[in-house]
Amino acid sequence: MFKEIISRLKQGYRTMEFPSSEIKLPHRFQGLPEVNPGAGMGGCAEYADVCPTGAIAAPEGKPVLDLGRCIFCGKCAKLYPRVFNFSREYKMAARKREDLFLRGEAFKRAATLDEAMKRLFGRSLKLRQVSAGGCGACEADCNVLQTLSFDLGRFGIQFTASPRHADGILITGPVTQNMKLALEKTYAAVPGPKIVIAAGACAISGGIYAGHPETAGIPAEIPVDLYIPGCPPHPLTILDGLLRLLGRIE
C-alpha cells in the first residue's frame, strides 16, 4: 500500500484543466482548416482534384472544403497554401452536417441542445459507443478521454456497458454492411429521448471508405445530433464537442 502511495505522489496530479487557454497542441498538428476563397486561382479550380477523399469542391470556382470528409492529410495546404491553411484549432464539432462545409466564413461551432434535452442530459450523459468498421483509432481517442489525463467522468459523461443504460450512442467507423444490423439494434435498445453522435470522418461521411459496397453509412433512421470531424478526431475535439452539446462551454 505504501508503495502505491509513494508512486501516486511521484507521478503527481495529472488531470488537465479543461477548457483552458493553456492547452497547446504540437506545432505540426493540423486542426481546423482555413479556406480562403479570395486567393484568386483565376477561376481555375484544379485544387478540387488533389483531395484523396473528394472533400474539396469548387462550385463557381470557389473552394468548399467538407470537414466531414477531410482526413487532415494536409495535401491541399501543401499544394495550394494560399487557398488552404491548417490552423491548430481543435474546436470543430458541429450540430448540422451543412455546418461542416467550409467556405471561408467563420466556423459555426456546435450549439447547445434545446432546453428540454439540456435539462435531461446537461449534467449527466451516458453514452454507448458503437464501433462500426473503421480502424480503431477513433475508439482509442474516445477511450483516452476516460483516462486520468482527461477524466471525462468529472463532466458527468460516461461510456456505459449496455445501451439500456445509455442516453445515446456515439458511432465511429463507416458502418460496414456487417455492422449495420448491430448498430440498428443498439440504437433501438437505447431508451428515448436519445442522442446520436458521429465521431470521425468515417462515421460522418464514410471517410476513405465512402462508396465501398462493403460500407453502408449511418442509416437515415438514425438522426445525428453532433458531428465530430477528424481522422481520428483529437481527444480534445471530442471533449469540446460533447461539452458544447451539453451547454457546458459556450
Binding site: 508503495k3 502505491e4 508512486s7 501516486r8 511521484k10 507521478q11 495529472r14 497542441l25 504540437p26 506545432h27 505540426r28 498538428f29 493540423q30 484523396p52 477523399t53 482526413i71 487532415f72 492529410c73 494536409g74 454507448r128 459507443q129 458503437v130 464501433s131 462500426a132 468498421g133 473503421g134 480502424c135 480503431g136 483509432a137 477513433c138 475508439e139 482509442a140 474516445c142 477511450n143 483516452v144 476516460q146 483516462t147 486520468l148 489525463s149 461510456f159 456497458a161 467507423g173 463507416p174 460496414t176 454492411q177 456487417n178 455492422m179 444490423l181 448491430a182 443498439t186 476513405i208 471508405y209 465501398h212 459496397p213 462493403e214 460500407t215 481522422c231 481520428p232 483529437h234 481527444p235
Partner: protein, 505 residues
C-alpha cells in the same frame, strides 16, 4: 523434388519465381517444408492472367502462393501452383494453415477439399448471397449441464466489434470460437491497380493502432519494387516511430491488464502514459498515431535539435513513470495471483498455430522480424529479448514480455537518437518494376506484418496481400481459454489485445 526457389526479404523477384508446380508436387513440397520447421508467413491466391478479380467471377484459374519462413536460418522460400476450381486443404496436418485456407476459399471461390472447419472468415459481400457474420454454425459441445455464452459484436467497452461464442460447463470454458468480419471494409480489393490517391491512407488505417507498422511494410514493398534506396536518416526515423508505437501500445496494455484485475494505480498511470507516448508521435509528425509520417522513399518529417531535445526529455520522464507503474504491478501479490497460470498457451500450441509477436515469444517461440529478417536501421540489432525472458505462455508471461519490450524499445530509441545519421530523410521513389513481386515483413507491436505485392505489366499492383499479426494470433486467444474460467476472458483477451480491423481488412 526440385529445389524450392529461395527468396530474399525485400528483394523484388520476377514472376518466374512464382512459376506453378504441378498440384501434387506443390502439396508434397509444402508439407515437406512445413514438416521441416517452415512457417507459412502468407498463403493466398490471385487470379491468373486474363481472369477477372477474385470474388467477382468465381473460381477458374487461380494462382496459389505460399511464402515460407525458416526463422532461425533467416530464410524465405516461395512455392506456387495453379488451381482450376479446387485445392486440397493441408490444415489437418498443419493447423497453422487453417485460416489461410479458409481465406483462400472465401476470396477466390476455389473449393477447399478436406478442410475440417471451412467457415467464412470475413463474410464479404457476395452478389446475391449476403450472409451476415456470426450466423454460420458454431462448434457446439453437447451435454446436460453444458451451456453457451454469446458475446458481441457490440462489447461492453469502447472497442471494436467481434463475436465470441463460449461452450461452458459452469465457469469452465470447454471451447471458444471467435467469429469476426464485422470490420470488413474491402481494403485489399481497392489496392489492386494502385498505388492511387488513397493507397497510403488505406494502409495507414488498416489497423489504426499499427499505422507505422503497416505503413512501413507498404513503403518497403514499394521501395523494393522500385529499387529506391531510403536515406539512412529516414530509416532511423522510421525505426524510431515504430518503437514509439510499440511503447504506446505495450504501455496501454499493461494498464488495461491492471484494470482488468482491478489494480487501479497501474491502470491509471499507464492510461496517461500511453497518451504521453502518442503525443510524442504527434510532436514529430502532428498526428498521435503517426499518420502521414512514413511515405515511400523515407519519412515526411525530420527532427531538428530542439525537437530531439524535447523528445528525449519527454521520453525519459515517461519511461521513468512506466517503470514505476510496472514495478507496482509485479510487486503486487494479488495481481500476480491473477496473472500466473492464467490462459496458458504452450510452446507446442504456439508453434502449431504459427503465432507471432509477443504472444509467441511469451510461449518460448522467439521469433522477431527485427532480428530474423531485419531491414533498415534494424540491421545491427541485438537480441530483442534477454535470455531469461519468461516462456510460461500465461498472462503473466505475455504481460512481462511486453514490459521487457518496453525497456528494449526505450533503449533502442535512445540508441537511434544517439547515432542519428545526417543527411536527407527522403528520396523520391521511381516507378515500380512490371511483373515482379516482393515480400515485405515488419515487426509491428503485435507481431509479424506481411505484405506481398505483385505488379502487372504496367507496374501497378496486380495483387496486394496483407497479413496482420492478429490473423495468426486470434486462434491463440481461443486456445488460451481452453479449460480456463470464463471470468478470465477479459484478462486473457487483453494479454493478446488483437486487432479486429487488422484481421477484417
Amino acid at each position: 523434388m526440385t529445389e524450392l526457389p529461395r527468396l530474399s526479404h525485400l528483394q523484388a523477384a520476377g514472376l518466374d519465381a512464382l512459376a506453378p508446380l504441378p498440384p501434387d508436387d506443390f502439396y508434397k513440397a509444402a508439407a515437406g517444408r512445413l514438416k521441416a520447421g517452415g512457417r507459412a508467413v502468407s498463403y493466398f491466391g490471385f487470379p491468373e492472367e486474363g481472369r477477372s478479380a477474385p470474388l467477382e467471377n468465381g473460381s477458374a484459374g487461380t494462382r496459389l502462393v505460399m511464402i515460407l519462413a525458416f526463422d532461425a536460418e533467416r530464410r524465405l522460400e516461395v512455392l506456387s501452383m495453379s488451381a482450376g476450381d479446387s485445392f486440397r486443404a493441408l490444415t489437418p496436418d498443419f493447423p497453422q494453415l487453417h485460416l489461410f485456407e479458409r481465406e483462400i476459399a472465401e476470396q477466390t471461390g476455389l473449393r477447399c477439399d478436406g478442410h475440417p472447419w471451412l467457415k467464412p472468415v470475413r463474410y464479404p459481400l457476395k452478389a446475391g448471397s449476403p450472409i451476415p457474420p456470426g450466423t454460420a454454425d458454431f462448434f457446439r459441445v453437447h451435454g446436460a449441464e453444458v451451456h453457451e455464452v454469446a458475446v458481441g459484436p457490440v462489447h461492453a467497452g469502447v472497442i471494436e466489434p467481434g463475436h465470441f461464442r463460449f461452450q461452458c460447463h459452469g465457469e469452465q470454458v470447454f471451447h471458444l470460437e471467435i467469429a469476426l468480419g464485422y470490420q470488413h471494409r474491402g481494403i485489399e480489393r481497392r489496392l489492386i491497380g494502385g498505388p492511387g490517391q488513397l493507397t497510403s491512407h488505406y494502409l495507414e488505417t488498416l489497423a489504426g493502432d499499427t499505422t507505422i507498422g503497416h505503413a512501413s511494410a507498404y513503403c518497403r514493398a514499394v521501395e523494393s519494387l522500385s529499387g529506391t534506396p531510403v536515406p539512412a536518416r529516414g530509416e532511423f526515423l522510421r525505426a524510431l516511430m515504430l518503437e514509439l508505437e510499440r511503447l504506446a501500445n505495450h504501455t496501454g496494455d499493461l494498464g488495461a491488464l491492471a484494470g482488468d484485475v482491478a489494480y487501479l494505480p497501474t491502470a491509471s498511470f499507464c492510461g496517461r502514459l500511453r497518451g504521453d507516448f502518442l503525443n510524442m508521435s504527434a510532436l514529430i509528425c502532428g498526428n498521435r498515431f503517426g499518420r502521414g509520417m512514413i511515405i515511400p522513399g523515407g519519412t515526411a518529417f525530420d527532427l531538428d535539435h530542439a525537437l530531439i531535445k524535447e523528445l528525449r526529455l519527454r521520453l525519459d520522464a515517461a519511461f521513468g513513470d512506466v517503470e514505476n507503474a510496472a514495478d507496482l504491478l509485479w510487486g503486487s501479490s494479488s495481481v500476480m495471483e491473477r496473472f500466473e497460470g492464467t490462459g496458458i498457451v504452450s510452446r507446442e500450441t504456439a508453434l502449431a498455430l504459427g503465432l507471432t509477436g509477443p504472444a509467441a515469444r511469451a510461449s518460448g517461440v522467439r521469433r522477431d522480424v527485427r532480428r530474423d529478417f531485419p531491414a533498415g536501421a534494424y540491421l545491427n540489432l541485438k537480441a530483442p529479448l534477454p535470455e531469461d525472458a519468461p516462456e510460461s505462455g500465461d498472462v503473466r508471461a505475455r504481460a512481462y514480455t511486453r514490459w521487457l519490450e518496453i525497456k528494449h524499445s526505450y533503449e533502442l530509441i535512445n540508441g537511434l537518437l544517439d547515432s542519428l545519421p545526417s543527411g536527407p530523410v527522403f528520396a523520391e521513389p521511381g516507378a515500380m518494376k512490371p511483373e515482379s513481386f516482393t515480400v515485405s515483413l515488419e515487426e509491428g507491436w503485435r507481431g509479424e506484418i506481411c505484405h506481398t505485392a505483385i505488379t502487372d505489366k504496367a507496374g501497378k499492383f496486380r495483387s496486394y496481400k496483407i497479413k496482420d499479426p492478429s490473423f495468426n494470433n486470434w486462434q491463440g486467444l481461443a486456445m488460451a481459454l481452453r479449460g480456463a474460467q470464463i471470468s478470465d476472458f477479459p484478462l486473457c483477451n487483453k494479454s493478446f489485445n488483437l486487432s479486429y480491423c487488422g484481421h477484417d481488412l
